[in-house]
């Protein structure tokens, strides 16, 4: 991981080492290795994205943190306490995937009930309930039963519920699941507001474009292991380059590329497009000069990098076969 070696345990919202989970095979079926030794550190503050295909172990990891699943092995801390410690759970907010609130409760009663379960004093619950419902935009529905809520409203209520205990760490599992574009933007704004309050957010989502917009750091889980982790800049550094779009002609482009290109500056020609293997603007200037000298018309020069989706696809693709890795981790071996 790319954190300073001097960081202490208290600097991390989450500091996990060797988290594994093996589901015993029932009725003679194979054992399932859902997690194969996850090491992960998340600094306090900021939004951390957890990516991975279905069956990669994202939800299992989150559920282990939230004591819903018992790990096979797990070392490390959450908010400076061992994972599963009730004191730590008091300071963690959680929105599970496909959560189901009791249908007979109103939105305000949901926050009151789960707030009480989180050991939040009554006075504080009464104060925070209208504030949180307003934050997620459903304050007018405070006294309406959950039974009549749309999926989007339930998600908003779930986020408010995750914030009820004024947590230091907020764990959100697919918070924008089933939410329309307007709702997604609202949720994104809420997430950034939470981050700006100094809280840490762990975001588990399939929506890579959403994550790319809000996450400071991401980890990609594949088949129960961390395939890569870092800031989006760090992860895309190798893929950064310049692309020069020209009007041709192609034979002139090949001559220029051969003349300017070297082992230090790789230049590829793709039709009328030139790809320069450097993210340094200075290094591109000689190529632009050469193109002008060859009377090539330049349409645009732009820095480009891989998207999160490209990174994700690269991580979930078997480099030897080029095939996308199968979901899950049920091979009975470690």
């Amino acid at each position: 991981m790319s954190h300073p070696a001097t960081a202490s345990a208290g600097d991390y919202a989450l500091d996990l080492t060797g988290v594994s989970k093996v589901y015993s095979g029932a009725w003679g079926s194979k054992k399932v290795h859902a997690l194969r030794g996850i090491d992960m550190r998340i600094h306090r503050g900021g939004i951390f994205g957890l990516l991975g295909p279905n069956g990669a172990g994202k939800s299992t990891l989150v559920k282990i943190m939230m004591t819903v699943i018992r790990p096979t092995t797990c070392a490390g801390t959450m908010l400076g306490r061992r994972v599963g410690d009730k004191g730590a759970l008091r300071r963690v907010g959680y929105l599970p995937e496909h959560h189901k609130f009791p249908e007979y409760l109103t939105a305000a009663q949901v926050l009151d009930y789960f707030g009480a379960l989180a050991d939040v004093p009554r006075a504080e619950r009464k104060k925070r309930t209208p504030e949180l419902l307003a934050l997620v935009g459903i304050d007018k529905w405070a006294d309406h039963k959950v039974k009549g809520f749309s999926k989007g409203m339930r998600q908003r209520l779930g986020i408010a519920n995750a914030l009820m205990n004024d947590p230091d760490l907020v764990v959100l599992d697919e918070p924008t699941d089933g939410v329309d574009p307007v709702g997604r933007r609202d949720i994104r704004n809420v997430l950034m507001a939470i981050r700006d309050q100094g809280r840490t957010v762990l975001l588990n989502s399939h929506l890579l474009s959403e994550l790319e917009m809000v996450c400071d750091r991401v980890a990609i889980l594949v088949q129960g292991k961390v395939a890569s982790v870092g800031t989006i800049d760090e992860l895309t550094r190798d893929s950064r380059r310049y692309e020069i779009d020209t009007a041709g002609p192609a034979d002139a482009l090949a001559g220029v590329a051969n003349g300017v290109g070297s082992s230090a500056l790789k230049v590829e020609v793709d039709g009328t497009l030139l790809r320069v293997g450097s993210d340094d603007a200075e290094a591109v200037q000689p190529l632009i000069d050469a193109l002008r000298r060859a009377n090539v018309t330049i349409r645009s020069v732009r820095p480009v990098r891989e998207s999160l989706e490209d990174l994700f696809m690269k991580a979930v693709t078997d480099p030897t076969t080029g095939q996308v890795l199968k979901p899950g981790a049920a091979d009975g071996k470690r």
């Binding site: 589901y23 004591t67 819903v68 189901k100 009930y113 789960f114 009480a116 379960l117 989180a118 009554r122």
Partner: protein, 436 residues
């Protein structure tokens, strides 16, 4: 404490949202009101100004307090509260645990700073609220009925609340275990009802065997008692024959009367009537166990009648005929005794086996009978036994009831609560160990 209260409040909100809860509540109230309408007077039961002639439940036999205590316990508790209300409560609460452990719901609870065991036990206790609320309505209503109509303001009718809740808890723990294991409301409900009926079948059979055991053991004791009396009488007849023979030989007049003890044991002509001796004895509790009409009593009475006739005639031939008759009766009883003793032993053995099995089960029937044991006074109990004996035709109903009531509160509640604790421990173990 905050978390515990929150779970109870949530359970109340859940019940409050269910129509069935309020329907059952209304039925409980209606049952109490309906049971308050009839009253007993000197002739029988009076309702809406009309008297139904039922001497056995008249105020001469049972006090008004005893009358209400009986109908509240027999109809109110035995039938409604611990059958009807519990069945409807099961329908309402069977989904509580499967809903709690369903995906999307359990994460919301387990991620809170509350231990799994505490969460489980609190949820279980909250599930008992349904019946506790129903029985509170019934108990308070029964207390008012006993006070206003029966003239007794004893708080004992309020025992309906813990007793009904306890009976429900025996059944609900099974529902919780099946719900936890299968996560299915339907299976939890069906499984619980089937097991509940199984327990009922076992405990009812045990009760029947208990009754049969009392009856058959009583029969052997009665035969022994009658044999003793007949042998004494035979000895007296032998003495009389010897005396008469000696007197005859000495040409002396025969003794006018039998010895005092024999004379006392000799029956009156009325008692010699076979069918009258049984019920007469059964009506007088001071004369020992009630005697069944016919059977050995009839033989004994006939023997006494023969002796009486012989005594009256004072003839040696008559005494010899009496002796033959008594010998015949003794032989008949001696032949029947081993057969009855064998039958009693067989019943005793099967009862012992079944009782051992039933010991491991919750005592729903005996727990609900605790209400009757608490509410009905001893003097009213006698009247009730006469009523039940007449109603069921079982003359040994008192002995059977006494035998069951001799089982201590500790045994009834202890074994039932042990069963409940074991079932709950298994369900809690599953809940604490499971990955959701």
């Amino acid at each position: 404490m905050r978390q515990t209260l929150a779970i109870f409040l949530d359970a109340y909100r859940e019940l409050n949202s269910k129509k069935l809860f309020w329907i059952v509540m209304a039925i409980s109230l209606a049952v109490v009101v309906a049971l308050a309408i009839p009253t007993n007077n000197e002739r029988g039961i009076e309702m809406f100004g009309v008297t139904v002639e039922l001497p056995l439940v008249s105020s001469k036999e049972i006090s008004p307090k005893g009358f209400y205590a009986f109908i509240l316990s027999w109809v109110g508790v035995n039938w409604w509260l611990t059958w009807g209300a519990i069945l409807l409560a099961l329908v309402s609460t069977a989904g509580m645990i499967p809903d709690m452990v369903s995906s999307g719901s359990i994460e919301l609870s387990l991620s809170r700073p509350i231990g799994r065991l505490r969460l489980f036990l609190t949820k279980y206790a909250a599930g008992l609220l349904f019946v506790a609320a129903q029985s509170a309505v019934f108990g308070i209503g029964a207390w008012l009925v006993m006070g206003i109509r029966g003239g007794s303001w004893s708080p004992t009718p309020l025992m309906a609340i813990p007793i009904a809740t306890l009976v429900f808890s025996y059944v609900f723990c099974i529902c919780v275990l099946i719900g936890m294991a299968t996560r299915s409301t339907l299976l939890a409900l069906l499984g619980t009802v089937i097991i509940w009926l199984g327990i009922w079948a076992f405990t009812t059979t045990e009760g029947i065997l208990q009754s049969e055991r009392v009856r058959s053991e009583g029969e052997v004791v009665r035969i022994d008692s009658q044999l003793g009396q007949l042998r004494d009488t035979l000895k007296a007849v032998d003495d009389k024959i010897a005396e008469t023979t000696a007197a005859s030989e000495a040409r002396q007049p025969a003794v006018e009367t039998l010895p005092g003890d024999i004379a006392q044991s000799a029956p009156t002509p009325d008692a010699a009537t076979p069918d009258s001796s049984g019920p007469a004895d059964a009506r007088d509790p001071s004369r020992g166990p009630p005697r069944r009409p016919g059977g050995t009593n009839r033989l004994l009475s006939a023997g006494r009648a023969v002796l009486f006739a012989a005594q009256a005639s004072q003839s040696l031939d008559g005494l010899r005929r009496s002796r033959e008759s008594l010998s015949g009766q003794i032989t008949s009883l001696e032949t029947r005794r081993p057969e009855r003793a064998k039958s009693a032993e067989s019943v005793r053995r099967w009862h012992r086996i079944l009782k051992a099995v039933v010991t491991l089960m919750p005592k729903t029937g005996e727990t609900k009978n605790l209400f009757q044991r608490t509410v009905v006074d001893k003097e009213d109990q006698e009247g009730l036994f006469r009523l039940l004996a007449n109603f069921t035709g079982d003359q040994d109903v008192k002995e059977t009831s006494d035998a069951i009531n001799r089982r201590s509160l500790g045994w009834v509640l202890g074994t039932s609560l042990l069963f409940e604790a074991l079932v709950l421990a298994l369900a809690a173990w599953i809940f604490c160990r499971r990955d959701f």
